[in-house]
């Protein structure tokens, strides 16, 4: 789930029908959704978002060893092959999350 921008069919309040929406995430949290037809954008309140992001961070960190362990059991070779890149890429990923959140301010 490393994608930060995803697309999904959701109901748009303005179009009054299901339309393709673009969803922007920061880490595990949803930052905004934009309707692909009328461009209506739904955003989280920036204070809430920061608050939730900060609250979510310890949970992400605490569960990381368990998630890595699960991945190791599932696909050990893939994990070991990808781990160095993922480890060094983590600060960049966090910085991108920070930028996505900052955009909301």
């Amino acid at each position: 789930m490393s994608n930060e921008v995803l697309e999904a069919e959701l109901n748009c309040v303005h179009c009054r029908k299901e339309t393709l929406h673009q969803l922007v995430y920061a880490g595990r949290l949803l930052v905004s959704t934009t309707c692909g037809v009328c461009n209506t954008r739904v955003e989280h309140e920036s204070n809430d978002l920061w608050d939730n992001y900060i609250k979510d961070l310890p949970h992400r960190i605490a569960t990381k060893p368990f998630r890595l362990w699960k991945r190791f059991w599932r696909t050990p070779k893939t994990l070991l092959w990808n781990l160095p890149k993922a480890t060094f890429g983590k600060p960049i990923k966090m910085l991108r999350e920070y930028k996505n959140l900052k955009k909301q301010d």
């Binding site: 697309e7 309040v13 969803l23 595990r28 699960k70």
Partner: protein
């Protein structure tokens, strides 16, 4: 505590949605770190000691489903069935798949759940299964405030959620009759009501937080509910 009832849980996720090789069906969206459908499946599975779990998907989502189950729903046996053109058809496909076990008495109760409701708690699943076993059918409902409605009605109006549970042999028979008649119900209860009006469907008090992800803001609400629950359930 998990229920020991002989149940089958059918989780519907067959809504269309595939573009440029990736699914756009909302059930595959992440919700606080795990996909919506994974949360629905885990909550359903955590309700029972031994239950058949059937995931109904669109054929285009087959690879996505298998990867998601492998990554996020490990340790739980989930059987995949391809859905049809409508919700009713998808339900029928799943019921046909488990028909031999229903006919042999291995499955007593069937619960049908919308995959886009990731916050239905294991307690709600158990309550619905128990009520369905006792009364023949059970659905989670929330009373609608008359002030919210445009028309004045004498009778009580409720909002209906899922999971909806029914005794398995009657449910299978109802869907078989519907297939012969060409009847398409809006939900499981509608089909049962048509073919088994004598079955008393029990209205179980539902939780407002059992939201169906429909609008963008539902995702935000679901995130808040999960954060409040400490990311459990």
């Amino acid at each position: 505590m998990k229920s020991g009832m002989k149940a089958a849980l059918i989780v519907l996720a067959a809504g269309a949605g595939s573009r440029f090789g990736h699914s756009t069906n909302k059930v595959w969206l992440p919700l606080s770190g795990r996909r919506i459908i994974s949360r629905s499946l885990v909550n359903a599975a955590n309700s029972f000691n031994k239950a058949r779990i059937i995931l109904v998907i669109h054929p285009d989502d087959d690879a996505m489903a298998r990867t998601t189950l492998e990554r996020e729903v490990r340790g739980i046996k989930v059987e995949i069935v391809h859905g049809g053109a409508s919700r009713h058809e998808s339900e029928y496909n799943a019921l046909t798949y488990i028909a031999p076990q229903i006919e042999s008495g291995e499955i007593e109760v069937v619960l049908i759940h919308d995959g886009a409701r990731p916050l239905a708690t294991p307690a709600l699943f158990r309550e619905i299964a128990d009520a369905a076993h006792r009364h023949g059918g059970a659905i989670p409902t929330i009373a609608v405030d008359p002030r919210e409605m445009d028309t004045v009605r004498e009778d009580r109006v409720v909002r209906v959620q899922t999971p909806q549970g029914f005794l398995a042999p009657q449910l299978l028979l109802a869907y078989r009759k519907a297939a012969v008649d060409g009847f398409t119900g809006t939900d499981t209860a509608a089909c049962m009501e048509k073919y088994f009006p004598e079955v008393k469907t029990k209205a179980v008090n539902a939780d407002v937080s059992n939201v169906k992800i429909t609008y963008p803001q539902d995702l935000a609400i679901a995130e808040h509910v999960l954060a409040r629950r400490g990311y459990k359930d």
